[in-house]
Amino acid sequence: MALADARAICQDLATRPADLAREAAALTALCRWTGRYAPMVARDSADGLMADISGVPHLFGGEAALREDLQSRLERAGLTVSSAIAGTRGAAHALARHGGGIVPDGRLAEGIGHLPISALRLDHDTVSGLARMGLSRIADLIPLPRAPLARRFGQSLVMRLDRALGQYAEPVAAAANAPHFGVRMTLPEPIGLQSDVMAALERLLARLCDKLAQHQMGARRVRLELHRVDQGAAQVEIGLARPMNDAARIVALFVKGVDKIEAGFGIDALRLTAPVIEPLAPEQISAHHRVQPEHALADLLSSLGNRIGFDRVLRLLPAESLIPERSHKIAPAAYSAAEPMPAQTGPQRPITLFSPEAVTGPSGNPPARFRWRRMHFTTLRATGPERITPEWWFDDPAWRDGLRDYWRVETEQGPRLWLFSTPQTAQGSPNWYVQGEFA
C-alpha cells in the first residue's frame, strides 16, 4: 500500500522514515542474544534471524517449549515477533513469515503446503507468472514435474522448492564474529611490584599486537585494567599519535601510568584492550633496525599527548578563507596530516595573530600616533588599506562590525603592527584595533 493511500484511510497515521542502519544494528544485537538457543545464528534477509537448533530443543523441554520460551522472552522485552521451527531453512523462513508454528519432522510438504508461493523467497516475476497459470500455493507446485517447471521459470524456482522440502541441503551460514582486540591474564599469586606489572604487560602486549598485526590493524588507544585481590580495580589508558602495533614502543608509554597505580594487597588479574583501532597496512622493516624519523616523531607526539592531552598537541593547517582568524586551522597533530602551504600571494601577513585589541588615542587615518598596551607609538609609514569583508555565510560575533580596512603600520619605535579600522561602525570615527605583529 502506498503511503498516500494509507494516509487517506487513516488520517492521523504516524509515520517515520526507516533507519536502516539502526535497524541492522538492533538485529545484530538480537542475533547475539539468540546465541542462547543455538550455536549457529545468522541474519536471514533484512528482517529475520535464522538459528540452527539441531540437538538443542531437549535442553528446553522440546521444540514447542523452546519456541514458547523464545516468544515470551522477546515479548517481555517489548518485541513482537513471529517464529517457526521446521526441518529446513526454506520451510522455516516461509512459515515464520506466514503465521509461524512448528512443522513436525518428516512432514514438511504438509506443513508448508498451504502457504502461498511467494513464501519461497522467489522474485516477483516468477510469482506472478505462476499465479497466471493458476498455481498459488506451494502444495500446487509439489506434484508438478520438475523439468518443464525449470524450463519455464528457471532453475531458481526448482532450487528454492527443493531447499524448502529438504531435498537440497542449505546450511545456516553464520557470519564470523568480529575480532575482539582484548587479552587478559590471571595470576596464581598476586603481584605488587612495578617491574612485575610491566613484565605482565609486556606479555599481554605481545599477544595483543600479534592479534592486531594479524588483522592488519593498529591501536589508537590502549587500555590496561588491573584487578586487585580486594575486588578493587585500576585502569591506565594511553593514546597513540598514529595507529601502531609495535609492542616495544607502546610499552614505553605505560611506564608513567603504571607508576601511579596503587597495588594494595596485590594485583591478580590484568586485562588489556584496544578500544580504538584503525587499519594499519604492513610496513617494510628496514634492514638496519633504525627507527624511522616519522616513527620517532610519532612516539614523541604520543608521549607529549599522553601527558598534556592530545588536544594540546597541535598543527597548523591552511584553510580557504581571507578572514585572518579562519585562514588557518589549528588541528590536533595526532588526528591530522601536514599539508603543504599554498604559495602566498597578495599582501604580506603578520607572523603572530591575536584577538583584536583596541588602541587608544588614535589620531588621523591611518593613525599617526596611538597607544597600545601602555606604549606610545608614532607611525613612520603605513601600507594599505587592504579591505576584508566578513563572510556573510558565517555569523561570527567578532565580525559584526562589518568590513575591515587592514594597514601594515611601521612605527618609529620599531614594532611593525597590523592595524585595522572598522569604517562601517555607527559612531562617527572608526575604531582602530591591533591584530598582529609582523617580523
Binding site: L300, R315, I330, R349, I351, S355, Q413
Partner: protein, 195 residues
C-alpha cells in the same frame, strides 16, 4: 666552528635564549634555517599564536604547536622535545624566570637528543646555563631609501664560546636569506653638494 660570514648559526645540541620584542621573529628566522620537524611550545594562555600565512616558506608544514596549561608541563615538554632525536629545533616561551637547575637540565636533554633549543624569555628572565642569549628588537627603517627593508637589531649579550656582538639585519620574514646592514656612521660629507 661558526664562520664569521654567518654569525647567526646557533651552536647545535645546545639551548639558546632570545629576549626582546623581536624574539618571535628571531625564532622564526632560526626555524627557517633548521631542517626537520619544529616544535613551538606556547603556554595555553598566551593570546599570540603563529599565523600560518605569515610564516617563512617551509616552516608552516613542519611546525607543531604545544599548548601546555602549566609551567611544569611546559618545562617537561621542553625536555621531552629536546630529547627526541628527529626534532630540528625546539622553540619555547617560558613565562617564569628559568632557574639554573631547569636550564642545566635542558642543556643535558639537548645533548642527549642532539637537538637545538631556543627559549623565548621575558627580558632578564634567562638562566645562566644558556649557551647564548640574544637581544632582538625590530628596528624602524629611518630613511626613504630603506623603506622596503625590515630591519632587526640582533645582539648577543651572553655567549659561552665567543664574543658579544651586535648586528643590524634586513630580513623580510619569508625565506632564510638575510642581508647585513652596515653600521650607521656619522656623516662627514656635506648634506648637499656644494654649489
Amino acid at each position: 666552528m661558526r664562520s664569521e660570514a654567518d654569525p647567526f648559526t646557533l651552536r647545535p645540541a645546545r639551548v639558546h635564549e632570545a629576549e626582546g620584542r623581536g624574539r618571535r621573529a628571531f625564532a622564526l628566522f632560526q626555524a627557517a634555517r633548521h631542517a626537520g620537524p619544529l616544535i613551538w611550545i606556547l603556554p595555553a594562555h598566551i593570546p599570540e599564536v603563529p599565523m600560518l600565512r605569515g610564516l617563512p616558506q617551509g616552516v608552516g608544514e613542519r611546525l607543531h604547536l604545544l599548548r601546555p596549561s602549566s609551567e611544569a608541563d611546559l618545562l617537561w615538554c621542553i625536555e621531552e622535545a629536546l630529547q627526541a632525536v628527529p626534532v630540528g629545533l625546539v622553540i619555547a616561551e617560558p613565562q617564569k624566570p628559568l632557574s639554573f637547575f631547569a636550564g642545566r637540565r635542558q642543556q643535558l636533554a639537548a645533548e642527549t637528543g642532539r637537538t637545538t633549543g631556543l627559549m623565548l624569555i621575558p627580558t632578564g628572565a634567562g638562566s645562566n646555563a644558556a649557551e647564548t642569549r640574544w637581544q632582538c628588537q625590530p628596528l624602524a627603517a629611518p630613511t626613504k631609501a630603506s623603506a622596503d627593508s625590515t630591519l632587526h637589531r640582533w645582539n648577543t649579550n651572553k655567549n659561552k664560546s665567543g664574543t658579544i656582538k651586535d648586528w643590524t639585519v634586513n630580513w623580510d620574514g619569508t625565506s632564510p636569506a638575510f642581508h647585513m646592514v652596515s653600521k650607521a656612521r656619522e656623516r662627514y660629507e656635506p648634506t648637499q653638494p656644494s654649489r
